[in-house]
Amino acid sequence: MSLTAVKTPNRMPDLGRVAAVDEVGVDERVARFQSRSIKKASKVEALKMVLGMIDLTTLEGQDTPGKVRQLCQKAIHLHDAMPGLPHVAAICVYPTMVGIAKEALQGHDINIASVATAFPSGMSSREVKLDETRMAVAAGATEIDMVISRGAFLAGQYAHVFDEIVAVKEAGGDARLKVILETGELGTLDRVRCASVLAMHAGADFIKTSTGKIQPAATMQVTLVMLQAIKDYYRETGRMVGMKPAGGISNAKLAVHYLVMLRETLGAAWMTPEWFRFGASSLANDALMQLMKQSTGVYQSADYFSKD
């Protein structure tokens, strides 16, 4: 036997060693984050940070090229009436819309995220999933949001899920890979933690809560467990992994509480669009409305903000 064992880049983790999660304790910790009072300058800064972390999303069967173009316009020009705003982090669309988004975002530093791998259910063959991933990247996607095979995960076929993520990561090439756990279908926080560990070891650049098609989508509880898994993984390997809660975060106050949670769990290094995203569609306008309120002292009608 050779003593120089080949070190594989992605080793299947020992899921038996994944720390247990106590749901009552998680609820209590989340309540503490929500009791933080974020006011004045720190609120304005937080709202701007939220805007810059948004993956502006449209994932409907009825999406049209026109709607995608409009969304891209919004991504660049969040609210020109208010100077000094960031642009969003990315546009998130179906693979068939990637080309349109690429054209619309030409010359702008905004990522194009494409869902892939038979989103949202993941119910297809490995080959189809890999082809779809390659297709999205070829069309110009810089980020791939894949879904895990929940059926296989829940059946205990962890190696299957692991291999699939490794394969999609490889098919995606340089695109950053976000792995959607669809936590609403996993049932327990213990499983959320397990799936997070599995995805990170398989090469995920981001772990993401939900497709937005299943209720419940992102919750602070689920996100906290995933952030804690990221922290442990970072301590163990030195590799930073990003986090993307998606679905159900439509008001700015809640988004700010997510930032509080991020700050107190992973610290300053993660507080950028490179490492934290909100998958959302209506969050941007609420954050804009709150920002305007901070500067003018009054709430404006929703009609002063473009609906896209």
Binding site: A20, G25, S35, S37, K43, R235, R263
Partner: protein, 490 residues
């Protein structure tokens, strides 16, 4: 698991702006007299003492120093109220008064919370979310018992004792007053209560509430002062029952003084609780439990989890995570809604804590404190942990009553249990494991009055509270708490 060097940074970047609770609506009088026989009156000898805000050392008010003569008057008023209206009143009517006090505490919750934080230094988040709601809950709970004592003690007749003399500490001023007053009144007794000298204001506010609630004069008397006033109450021949919460040393003196008298008494004294983390625990939540166990109320908690026993295979991980968590604790202005750790209650207490920090280091313990900055004036102590300490260390044996945690490791279940019980105290304990069977096995072995599993510092008026060994005698709270205020007849 070996922990590599991949550290997290919690400073820099986005910070929380100050979010102070307003004090505009708060009325603190320049001077407070003694609440005797239904109204405030000047002390016999005309002496007053200052009560300070420990967060900035500014004077909040001047409070009467009760002498023996004042205590005599208070006890006399309480006796008269007892033999007069209170013991003759229908129990249902007594209950109504207690319900009224509970509701009025809720109505003035914000005022109580702000004054509690001003006078005692505890963070407004705790006084608002824990102290005041729990105080109201105690009155509600015991109000319900007032006319149902026959169900509390089936087949026996519960009779009131008479005048209860009560002396309470400075760590939970309003809550301790409620723990003492509510069951006493529900059982038909009258009360002479002395709040701690560093934190008299919320008890005096409670006196205002009691006056506004229209309780018959003398049913509750609140006299302020220092140790001498407390001694005068405890040893007063007109007092039928003594309830004391405070240090074990004073508890001993009281017990000696009461030996051979006919007085009933309960003593709720010190503690040095073991918080035990097994390797299979939910580690991230256990770390929260450690923080809550020792840093809640600056560690001024008799049932604080001040000794951490962690199974060796996860010790490094737990300590690293605890250090990270300590970095995110906000120490400062007690009135800021984001403050996690407020001011140490008094200069005396701060000096005591600081002396233990020196002792811990000189004994060879490794001290680690969070890197937070502290305000310039006031009394402050950073959250602190000691590793490398042992059962023979004084920081492991003695109650520090501050935000100071002594950490030891264990390998086996038996070792954990031996260490947990190897203390003169026995007030509380904590067990963290994912296995239910281990919880039951462990909790049966720990000799302490309250044991929490996978949580810590949870209180409820329906649950009895009290200690083994030097942690005290008798129980307060729940059904047991009624027993301390009645004599049972066939």
């Amino acid at each position: 698991m070996a922990i590599p060097e991949n550290k997290l940074a919690f400073d820099g970047g986005w910070n929380y702006a100050p979010a102070p609770e307003s004090t505009d609506h708060i009325v603190v009088k320049k001077r407070y007299g003694l609440f005797i026989n239904g109204d405030f009156r000047a002390p016999e000898k005309g002496r007053y003492f200052d009560t300070l805000n420990p967060a900035n050392e500014e004077k909040l008010s001047r409070v009467a120093m009760a002498s023996q003569a004042d205590v005599d008057k208070a006890v006399k008023a309480a006796r008269k109220a007892y033999t007069g209206p209170w013991s003759r009143m229908k129990a249902k009517e007594r209950g109504k008064y207690i319900f009224r006090i509970a509701r009025m505490i809720q109505e003035r919750a914000r005022e109580f919370a702000v004054i509690e934080s001003l006078d005692g230094g505890k963070p407004i988040r705790e006084s608002r979310d824990v102290d005041v709601p729990l105080a109201a809950a105690h009155f509600f709970y015991y109000a319900g018992w007032a006319d149902k004592l026959e169900y509390a003690f089936p087949g026996r007749k519960a009779k009131a004792l008479g005048v209860a003399g009560q002396v309470i500490p400075w760590n939970f001023p309003l809550l301790m007053a409620s723990w003492k007053i509510a069951p006493a009144l529900a059982c038909g007794n009258t009360v002479v209560l002395k709040p701690a000298e560093t934190t008299p204001l919320t008890a005096l506010k409670l006196a205002e509430v009691i006056a506004d609630a229209g309780l018959p004069d003398g049913v509750v008397n609140i006299v302020t002062g220092a140790g001498d006033t407390g001694a005068a109450i405890v040893t007063h021949p007109g007092v039928d029952k003594v309830a004391f919460t405070g240090s074990t040393n004073v508890g001993r003196i009281i017990q000696k003084a009461l030996a051979g008298t006919n007085k009933k008494y309960t003593l709720e004294l010190g503690g040095k609780a073991a918080n035990i983390i097994f390797a299979d625990a939910a580690i991230d939540q256990a770390v929260e439990g450690i923080v809550n166990g020792i840093f809640f109320n600056q560690g001024h908690v008799c049932c604080a989890g001040s000794r951490l026993l962690v199974q060796e295979s996860v010790a490094d991980e737990v300590i690293e995570k605890l250090k990270d968590r300590m970095e995110t604790l906000i120490v400062g202005d007690p009135l800021d809604k984001n403050t996690d750790i407020g001011a140490i209650n008094s200069r005396m207490q701060l000096e005591k804590i600081e002396s233990y920090l020196k002792i811990g280091q000189s004994e060879g313990g490794e001290m680690h404190q969070s890197s937070c900055s502290l305000p310039k004036s006031g009394y402050w102590c950073r959250p602190t942990i000691f590793t490398g300490v042992s059962q023979s260390s004084r920081v492991v044996q003695e109650e520090i009553f501050g935000p100071v945690l002594a950490i030891q490791t264990f390998r086996t279940y038996d070792e954990a249990l031996t260490k947990a019980n190897n203390t003169p105290y026995g007030l509380s304990g904590g067990v963290w494991t994912d296995k239910g069977s281990k919880i039951f096995k462990m909790t049966q072995g720990i000799r302490a009055g309250v044991i929490w599993a996978n949580t810590f510092n949870k209180f409820d008026p329906t649950s009895p509270f009290g200690g083994y060994k030097e942690s005290g005698m008798g129980r307060e709270g729940g059904l047991h708490g009624l027993g301390a205020y009645v004599k049972l007849e066939a």
